[in-house]
Point group: C2
Chain length 180, copies 2
């Protein structure tokens, strides 16, 4: 047989890179790391992809494409309908591309896995339990985590003209507190 049925080198590179980027982040992964995982040389990587960043761009192209599609679908619909569709569409998109999205947040994993900050996970688990309001089911814990992460992430890009504190508390209560 001339070539292997599965996985041309190019696809093996993408697969290995996806795993390494998700585990160690983009900057935390070197061409050497990818080459070792694939079992080829760095030069081979750069034969198939012009630069390291092109590997990342190729990996992220499908989720970005789906995001474009989703935004097009919700555009111009009645607000309430668009909202429901945006919620379900975004959740599905995220679940379909877990690995690609996880690599965006690699520093989080880095921190949680560094020995010096190992307690962090325990701390957030305790806080998550409190946020779940005593509910012990996994669903409540997932919701608590979603809210912790979401609140933490608004720090990346501040918003003007709002009482951010009040808004964050409100959205967390809506999401987490049982209605009477």
């Amino acid at each position: 047989m001339r070539a292997m049925a599965r996985g041309s080198t190019r696809e093996e590179i993408l697969s290995a890179a996806a795993g390494l980027f998700a585990a160690d982040g983009y900057k935390g992964t070197s061409l050497q790391d990818i080459a070792a995982a694939v079992g080829c040389s760095k030069a081979t990587l750069l034969y198939h992809f012009a630069t390291k960043e092109m590997i990342l761009a190729t990996l992220l192209a499908p989720p970005v494409r789906d995001l474009v599609t989703l935004t097009e679908q919700v555009a111009g619909r009645p607000a309430a309908e668009a909202q429901q569709q945006a919620i379900e569409g975004f959740v599905d998109l995220v679940l379909n591309y877990r690995r690609e999205i996880a690599l965006i947040f690699h520093d989080l994993a880095f921190l949680f896995n560094e020995s010096s900050f190992a307690d962090l996970r325990d701390l957030t688990d305790v806080l998550g339990a409190a946020l779940a309001g005593g509910a012990k089911d996994p669903a409540a814990l997932v919701k608590a985590r979603v809210m912790m992460a979401g609140i933490a992430l608004i720090t990346v890009d501040p918003v003007e003209g709002v009482d951010v504190r009040a808004v964050l508390i409100d959205v967390a209560r809506r999401a987490l507190v049982q209605r009477a």
Copy 2:
């Protein structure tokens, strides 16, 4: 005067590092970058801090300390009371340490600022508007962003034994959809 009243070199290093880590991430910031920002040599940095990681650890110590305090405070209280306190306490903690928390998520900023992915911000803005359900006020947009980020971040650390999709859709609806 023997020494400057404000900012010993050590504190100038911490201040410069905080800004650079937040902007470019921990791995994306070199000792050289910090030294240039402070106006000293790399050797001076490493006189004050044993390693680069020690600079990060020093920076993160206060928020971690506050997180410990918060978890202690909610521990052993009635669930409903603990929940309210956890929500407010966590929001305040995040707002108090915006910069320190932002550095954890630097890859996000990296992606959004890379020219190849410049459209991403526009896309998420459109999706955020849809998630806000037609509401135009900044508060609704903040809530939409919180939910997008929170949902995206559950990919970092999957949960077992739940219908994740259903839970995510439920928490997003609770947080975002106006009640009748």
